[in-house]
C-alpha cells in the first residue's frame, strides 16, 4: 500500500528533515506516526502525498513510485490518498456540503451524482444537518469532520492525517478519532501524525512509528526495513 524505502529528504543547507526512513503501511492498517515537533512527521506525510520529492530512496503508494512519478499522474494519486490537516483547510466561502462536493467536482463527476454522495459523506461524519453551514459557523470538531468527509470523497486507499486533533478539545478529539476508527474498519489504511502521547497510550493495540530528528527510532510492528 504505502512503502518507504531508505527515504532521505534534505531541504538544502545542513538540516536533514528525514534520514534513511523505511516502513510499510499495509492495506487496512492504522498507524500512529509520532515524535516531537520537527521530528519529520509532516515531511513523511508530504513525501507520501508526493508534495515533496525524496532526496534519495523511494516512496511507493499503490502503483505510484516517487522515482517514476509524472506530474500528470499527481491528481490521480491525490484522489486515492486523502489528506487531513491540523488547521482543516476548508474554503471559507463554501458551505460544508460545497467543501465536500468540491473534491468530487475536480474529478469531473456529474452534478447529479455529487449531491447524493455528499449527503452520504456528511451523514457518515455525523454532519447531515449542518450541510449548509459555512466553516465559520462550525466548531473546530465539526470543521475537522467536514475535512474528513472531503478526504473520503474519492474513496481513498489511505488517509494521511497531520495532527488532526491538535486544535480540538478532548471531547472533539474523541469524536474525530472514533470516526477514524470507523473509516479504518471499512478497510481504509490510516497514517496519523500526532504527538498526543495520551491518545497513543489509550490505543496500545495500534501500530506506532516514532521519529526522532528525522530518523525512525521505533516501529511497534518491528518491520521498519521491510
Amino acid at each position: 500500500m504505502v512503502k518507504l524505502r531508505s527515504v532521505t529528504k534534505n531541504f538544502g543547507g545542513s538540516a536533514t528533515a528525514v534520514q534513511d526512513v523505511s516502513f510499510h503501511l499495509r492495506k487496512g492498517e492504522f498507524a500512529f506516526l509520532t515524535g516531537a515537533s520537527g521530528a519529520g512527521k509532516t515531511t513523511i506525510l508530504k513525501l507520501i502525498h508526493m508534495l515533496h520529492r525524496p532526496s534519495s530512496g523511494e516512496v511507493r503508494v499503490s502503483r505510484y513510485s516517487s522515482n517514476r512519478m509524472k506530474r500528470r499522474d499527481l491528481p490521480q494519486l491525490r484522489r486515492r490518498v486523502g489528506y487531513i490537516f491540523q488547521d482543516f483547510r476548508l474554503l471559507e466561502n463554501l458551505t460544508a456540503a460545497e467543501n465536500v462536493a468540491f473534491a468530487l467536482e475536480v474529478t469531473g463527476m456529474p452534478r447529479a451524482k455529487i449531491r447524493p454522495r455528499v449527503q452520504k459523506l456528511l451523514g457518515q461524519v455525523g454532519l447531515a444537518s449542518r450541510a449548509q453551514a459555512l466553516p465559520r459557523e462550525l466548531s473546530g470538531g465539526e470543521q475537522q469532520r467536514v475535512a474528513v468527509a472531503r478526504a473520503l470523497a474519492n474513496d481513498p486507499l489511505v488517509l494521511l492525517a497531520d495532527e488532526p486533533t491538535g486544535n480540538l478539545d478532548e471531547r472533539a478529539t474523541a469524536g474525530v478519532f472514533g470516526l477514524f476508527q470507523q473509516i479504518n474498519a471499512s478497510g481504509t489504511s490510516i497514517l496519523m501524525a500526532t504527538h498526543d502521547a495520551e491518545l497513543i497510550r489509550q490505543h496500545r493495540d495500534m501500530r506506532v512509528i516514532e521519529l526522532e530528528q528525522g530518523r525512525l527510532v521505533f516501529d511497534s510492528a518491528g518491520d521498519a526495513a521491510s
Partner: protein, 287 residues
C-alpha cells in the same frame, strides 16, 4: 459552467483587487492607445501628402489632341497608374491665374499663352514608391510629343523614407509599449493569483488537475484584460475629443484597430493569468 462560476466568484471575492487589476491594465493599454492614435494620425497625414504624388508630363505645342487622347488611354492602362488627366493650354492658364492670384494681371496681359498642355498622372497607392514613380516618368517621356515629365523626385524620396522611418518607429515603440503593458498586466494578475494561493493548494490536495485549476483564472484574466481594454478605449476617446476640441482636428482610430486592441488586451490578460497560475502550480508541486 464551473469555470464561469468560479471566475465570477473569484472577481467578486476580491472586488478591490479586480478593480485595481482592471485599472492597471487600462492605464497600460491607454499608453498604447495614445501611441496608436498618434501613429494613425501621422499615417493619415503622410497618406494625404503621398496622395499628391503625381507625374506631370508637359506636352509639345504641336501635339495633336487625337494622339494625346490615345496616349492618355495607354498611360491609364499602366499597372502603376490610377488616372491620367489631360490639362489643355487654356486650362493650364486658367488654373495658374486662379492659384497664383498675385500674377493674375500678368496672365491676363499675355498675347500668347506660354504654358504647355500636360497630362497629370496619379499613381495607385501601392506604386507611389520612388522607383515606380521614376519608371512611369521614363515611360511617359518616351512619347515623342512629351517635352518632359516631372514628379518632384526629392519630395517622393523624402516622403518614402519618412514613411519607412515612421513605420519602423511605430513597430519598435508599439512593441515596447506592449511589453510594458504585458509586465504590468502580469503583476496585476499575479497579485490576484497570490491572493488565492490557499485555494489553489487545497484544489491540488484533493486531486484537481492543472487545467482544472487554471481555467477560471484564464477566464478571469480574459475578462479583466477586456475590462482594462474598454477602460483604455474610453480614456483614449476622451483624450481624442479633448485634443479635437482644444488643439487640432484628428482622425479616430480605425474600427479594426480598436477591435484588435480589445482582443489583444483580453489575450494578454489571459496569457498573464496562465503564466502566473503555472508559476504558482510549479511552486506547489515539485513533480
Amino acid at each position: 459552467m464551473r469555470t464561469i462560476r468560479e471566475a465570477v466568484l473569484g472577481m467578486r471575492r476580491a472586488p478591490a483587487l479586480t478593480i485595481l487589476s482592471v485599472m492597471a491594465i487600462g492605464l497600460s493599454v491607454f499608453s498604447i492607445g495614445l501611441f496608436a492614435l498618434t501613429a494613425h494620425n501621422i499615417d493619415v497625414a503622410l497618406s494625404e501628402v503621398e496622395r499628391r504624388v503625381e507625374v506631370v508630363a508637359y506636352l509639345r505645342d504641336d501635339a495633336s489632341e487625337e494622339l494625346i487622347e490615345i496616349a492618355r488611354h495607354e498611360i491609364e492602362s499602366f499597372p502603376e497608374v490610377m488616372s491620367a488627366r489631360y490639362i489643355s493650354k487654356v486650362e493650364a492658364l486658367y488654373e495658374a491665374s486662379r492659384e497664383l492670384t498675385e500674377f493674375s494681371d500678368v496672365y491676363s496681359d499675355l498675347e500668347v499663352n506660354p504654358l504647355p498642355a500636360s497630362l497629370e498622372i496619379s499613381l495607385l497607392p501601392d506604386h507611389r514608391t520612388p522607383s515606380d514613380v521614376e519608371a512611369v516618368a521614363d515611360r511617359v517621356t518616351s512619347y515623342h510629343f512629351v517635352e518632359e515629365a516631372r514628379y518632384g523626385r526629392e519630395w517622393v524620396d523624402r516622403i518614402y523614407s519618412l514613411r519607412r522611418v515612421a513605420g519602423g518607429a511605430a513597430v519598435i515603440l508599439g512593441l515596447a509599449f506592449a511589453l510594458g503593458a504585458a509586465i504590468l498586466i502580469g503583476i496585476a494578475v499575479r497579485m490576484s493569483v497570490l491572493a488565492r494561493t490557499r485555494e489553489i493548494a487545497i484544489m491540488r490536495t484533493v486531486g484537481a488537475t492543472d487545467s482544472y485549476v487554471r481555467r477560471p483564472f484564464l477566464l478571469e484574466g480574459l475578462v479583466t484584460g477586456i475590462g482594462g481594454g474598454l477602460l483604455a478605449l474610453a480614456l483614449t476617446w476622451g483624450m481624442y475629443r479633448a485634443v479635437e476640441r482644444m488643439l487640432l482636428s484628428l482622425a479616430w482610430l480605425p474600427g479594426l484597430w480598436t477591435a484588435a486592441g480589445l482582443a489583444a488586451a483580453g489575450i494578454l490578460g489571459m496569457l498573464a493569468a496562465g503564466r502566473a497560475v503555472r508559476r504558482e502550480l510549479r511552486r506547489l508541486d515539485v513533480y
